[in-house]
Every structure is written in structure tokens, then in C-alpha cells.
Point group: C2
Chain length 344, copies 2
């Protein structure tokens, strides 16, 4: 009985991620294999497949959320497996391009406990490797059946991605208070562009390539975008109040780094709050424990979690508004639970 139930039950999130990763890996390796050997090595290094110099490695790659969304979105829309795999390859390439370039812009020296590509290979080579991945993503989609609609979807996501990154960089120079401060709504828009756009593209791209209806494509895109915002908001909450044992980041890390995240911006925007005092504390980067308590007392944490729940409800409403295959949608829900909901 137990065996039968587990045979028909939805697999757990890590199994879903593993299944999608294994399905996508050969096509991703084939695509990366078409790169110039040098940019190909940098790409393989950032996927965790090799060390600097090319020796094989099995370093942790990312969780593979985007490729899983692409595979499951295609399956949910009844698209052929090939469509989901091609979409997954394209979004993984774009995601890796954006990590390589963002790490340069943000000056981040490590990612997944290894030196970032610009640290390991130099800034110029990392710029070039990112460009090569970007070009390869476009080339991969351009060669696919159903490519034109896919290219339009991907290019809109890319434009949003770059736009969101621009705002994110500019936010650091804006003041904490006054008319020039960053409004929580502005932050949410940035998060939708920087994080949501590619997740939306991932969820919808396989469906586009498989010839799904515009309504289905739009619903999957919207679901992925909402998931992206929810994911960012949960990440913001964990960046302040998360357990360092679990997050692998220092306690109150985002406050030490003076990051303008949603909980902080919501606290500063709260009408009954002493914003100037909190702003001085945040600007100093000192005493992050007190700053965290003030942000929480001003309702910043509550506002972030409430907004994340609202976004997740939007995911659910998008998924239930169009006809989708039940099994893959259940797996999508398992991923949502794993990525976001268990924190809410």
C-alpha cells in the first residue's frame, strides 16, 4: 500500500530537480561543447563541471530551478520533450551569462563556495565568456522549431533582466529616506525584472516552442514572474533573519552589507516609524541586530512575507486559470513549496 502510494504520489522537490537536470544535461553539454574551448572551459567551470585548467570536477552547480521550470512548463502544456529541453538549455545559458556578468558588476569574489569566474580567469575573459553564453542561447533558440516566438519571449526577458540589473545597481547610490528614496513598489518591479522575467521565460519557453496557446504561454510566464518576486522576497527575509547554519551566510548579512531589500524599504516607508534613526543605523552598517529589530518592529518583515504570499497566490491563480496537465503542475507546486512556501 505504501509502495503503491509512493509510486503515484508526486516526487519530492530534490527528485524533481534531479530528474530535470538529468534530462537537460546532455543537450546542455552538447551546446557548451560548441563554444570556443576557452570560453567553453569558463562555462563548464561555472556549471561546476570542471576546475580552472579543465580538470573534471563535480562541484555544486545551482539548484537548476530554471531548467526545471522549462521542462515542467513544457510538460504541463503538453509540448514535446524536445521543446522543454531546448528551452531549458537556453534559459540555463542566459542565467549563467547573467551570473558571470553580475558577479563582475557586484565585485563578488565567490559563488557556491568557489572563486567566481572573473576572480579565477580575469575580468576581461569573464566578460567574454558571458557574451559567448548569451550568443549561444540565442543561437540555440534560433535553430529550434518554433524558434521565432521563443526568441521574442527570450529577448523580452533579456531586456527586463538588464533593466532590473541597472536599477539594482542604481539603488545602492540612492538615499534611505526623502523623496529620492527607493519605494518598495519600485523594488518589487526591479525584482520582477531582474529575477522574475527569466523565471517567467523559463516556465513559458518550452510551451512556446511546443506550440501551446497564447493564453497558456501567458499564464506560465506570469506564474514564473510571480514566483521570481516571491523567491526574492523570501531571500530578502532570510538575508536578515535567516539561520546562518542554513543559509551559509553571516547573521544579518544583508544589513551588514547595507543592502536595500524589501523588508528594510517597507520599514522605512511605514508611516508610523522613525525613519531617520533607522536610516542612520542602516547607513552605518553597524549594530545590525538593533537594525533588524527596528525593521521588524516597523513591520518590514511582515510586509515582505505578506507580499510574498500575495505573489504566490498569483502563481496559483495563473496555473489554475488555463488547462494544464495535472502531473507536471503538481511537480511545479512541489517546487514552489520547496523554494518559497515552506518559509512563509
Amino acid at each position: 500500500m505504501t509502495a503503491l502510494r509512493s509510486a503515484v504520489a508526486t516526487p519530492a522537490a530534490p527528485q524533481v530537480l534531479d530528474r530535470c537536470r538529468e534530462l537537460v544535461r546532455p543537450a546542455l553539454e552538447e551546446a557548451v561543447g560548441r563554444l570556443h574551448p576557452w570560453t567553453g572551459e569558463m562555462a563548464a567551470y561555472s556549471f561546476g563541471w570542471c576546475e580552472v585548467g579543465g580538470a573534471p570536477a563535480a562541484a555544486p552547480g545551482g539548484k537548476g530551478v530554471r531548467q526545471a521550470l522549462a521542462v515542467l512548463g513544457a510538460e504541463a502544456a503538453g509540448a514535446p520533450e524536445r521543446a522543454g529541453v531546448t528551452a531549458a538549455v537556453a534559459v540555463e545559458l542566459v542565467h549563467t551569462f547573467s551570473l558571470l556578468h553580475d558577479d563582475i558588476m557586484d565585485g563578488d569574489p565567490t559563488r557556491r563556495r568557489r572563486p567566481t569566474v572573473w576572480k579565477a580567469y580575469g575580468t576581461g575573459p569573464a566578460v567574454l565568456a558571458g557574451d559567448a553564453l548569451f550568443a549561444l542561447a540565442v543561437e540555440t533558440l534560433a535553430a529550434a522549431p518554433g524558434g521565432p516566438g521563443g526568441i521574442r519571449l527570450l529577448s523580452a526577458a533579456l531586456a527586463d533582466l538588464v533593466r532590473g540589473q541597472a536599477d539594482d545597481l542604481l539603488f545602492t547610490a540612492r538615499p534611505w529616506t526623502g523623496p529620492e528614496r527607493v519605494d518598495p513598489d519600485e523594488y518589487r518591479t526591479m525584482a520582477e525584472q531582474k529575477t522574475g522575467a527569466l523565471l517567467g521565460c523559463a516556465a513559458a519557453l518550452g510551451a512556446v516552442l511546443g506550440g501551446a496557446s497564447p493564453a497558456t504561454v501567458a499564464a506560465l510566464d506570469r506564474a514564473g514572474r510571480r514566483l521570481g518576486v516571491a523567491f526574492q522576497l523570501v531571500d530578502d527575509v532570510l538575508g536578515i533573519w535567516g539561520d546562518p547554519e542554513v543559509t551559509g551566510k553571516p547573521v544579518h548579512g544583508d544589513l551588514r552589507e547595507r543592502k536595500k531589500t524589501f523588508p528594510v524599504l517597507a520599514a522605512l516607508a511605514s508611516p508610523c516609524h522613525d525613519a531617520p534613526r533607522l536610516a542612520r543605523l542602516l547607513e552605518s552598517g553597524r549594530d545590525p541586530g538593533t537594525a533588524a529589530a527596528l525593521v521588524e518592529a516597523a513591520g518590514g518583515r511582515r510586509a515582505a512575507l505578506a507580499e510574498a504570499r500575495r505573489q504566490l497566490a498569483g502563481v496559483e491563480s495563473a496555473l489554475s486559470g488555463v488547462p494544464l496537465a495535472a502531473g507536471p503542475v503538481d511537480e511545479l507546486r512541489t517546487l514552489l513549496e520547496f523554494l518559497v512556501r515552506r518559509e512563509l
Copy 2:
């Protein structure tokens, strides 16, 4: 009589370039206007339209060779004007993206007598502005009628561009002599990828968007690629023996910078030459006058000019092998003359 003759004669190259630039400028401004204001300013700065901070400027942009090729290629293939303009916008955006990123990789502090974007705005912002231009180029083409074929052509050119840049960067670390030295053929392949691919794409892209036959598209692409190689070889000759008054660069500049260019590589590959002695001199970067004389004595200059002529003959044979409108092809020939042939 004189007035009548000048009315039907092919206009001179600067007039051809001006006409194309004026035709393309509104659509290019419209596209750049869709960027985030910050990346849009960096783009406008690099086109010479504004200063840092956004104040209007009329600084020299590039010659506009790529946009002219796109317009003339479309006209030669009988494509609608709109096709040529869209193609021109896409290739100018890609060209500017590649300049922004190449200047970072090469550490070049100035371009067209102004600080490069990374010098003026910072490395991270310049990476981002390049990415934004790249994404905008793809978006522009994806939205155009006839886009799918155009995207395939552009993405192949982009892959070549990045591959050529990778080889160009790696060549600097290779030895001057011995089995690991850079062969002149390898250099020519690099030049075709780094410079020729985008010129080929430019010449053919408007024709693709306008629905020209595959044979016409292939011929225009080949013509542009050959032109790119010829252009690079002439540039290499001018970089060693050019008049500083004309080139705006120091005498023997490429030898002082220890650049591995075609004339040098051809000299080192020449069988009856004392390669080790020349290699030592080149590696030192000292006494570039003697090095130039040795390269010339070993036939390096002659080999470069002969190869450039061979490439130009390839342009001519490509253009005369398919039916093309006479007027635009005459203007294309005027550009060839202006860009390359007058040096041969």
C-alpha cells in the same frame, strides 16, 4: 552638362556614408530610447550623441560602415527600405556592444579621442550597457518581419564575433616562433570571425529581412566577410607603416605594442628568414624601425597586401555572381575603394 553628369554619377564614399547614417539615425535613436535611461546614456555617449551626464554632444561616431553595408545590401537585393534600416539598427547595436566589451578586455582607455565607456562610467556599468545593447539588437530583429532568418544570421555572426575575440586575446600569450606560434592562416580566420562576420551579416541582413533569395544572401554575406578580412589586413599594414598624420596613431604603433598582426606573422613564417632574431626584437618592443624594416624585407608587408587584394577579388566575385541592382552595388564599390582599395 556638368550638373547632369554629377546627378547620375555614383556619389563619393563620404556622401554614401552620410546618406545611410541619416536614413538610419531616427530608427537607431528610437531603439536606444527604449533602453533604461542609464544604459541608454552610455549607449548615446558611445554613439557620440551626448557627454557623460547626458548633455547633448556632436562627437564623432564611427564611420558607420556597418549601417551603410546594411542599407546598401538591402537596396542591392531589392528589399524594402524598412528592411535595410532595421538591419542597420541591429548591426550598429551589436557593433557598439562589441566595442564596449572589447575596450574592457583590451584595457583601451580612449576611442575616437574620448574616454571609453568603461573609463568614463566604470567597468561594471560598461559591461551592463554592452549587455543592454546586445539584448536590444536581438529584440529589434525578433520584432521585425522576416525576423527568424535574420536572427539565425545575426546569431551565427555573434558566435563568430565572440570566437574571434577569444582567439585574438589568446594570440597575445602565444610565442612568436616554434610550433605554438600563430600561423598567418589562423590569424586570417580570427580576422574573418572578429571583423568579417559582422560585416557579412550587415551586408546580408537587410536582404534576409526583405525576403531575398538564399543565393543572394549568401553572396552578400561572403562579400562582407571578405571585405572585413581585407579591411583588417590594410589596418595591419597602416598600423606599422601608416603615416601618423593620417592614422592618428604613433609611428610603428602596432610594433611598439607587440601586436601579432598579419605582416609580422607572415614575415616570421617566411622560410628564408631569420625568425629568432626578429622574434627577439618584436618581443622587446624596442627599435620598432628596425623591426619594421625586417618585417618588410621578409615579405610581410607584401604578403599582407597580396592577401588583402585576394580578399577584395573575392568581394568582387561574390557581388558579380548574383543579380543585384546596379546603383547600390556601385555605391558598395565606392565604399570598398574608400575603405580598402586606395591603400592597395
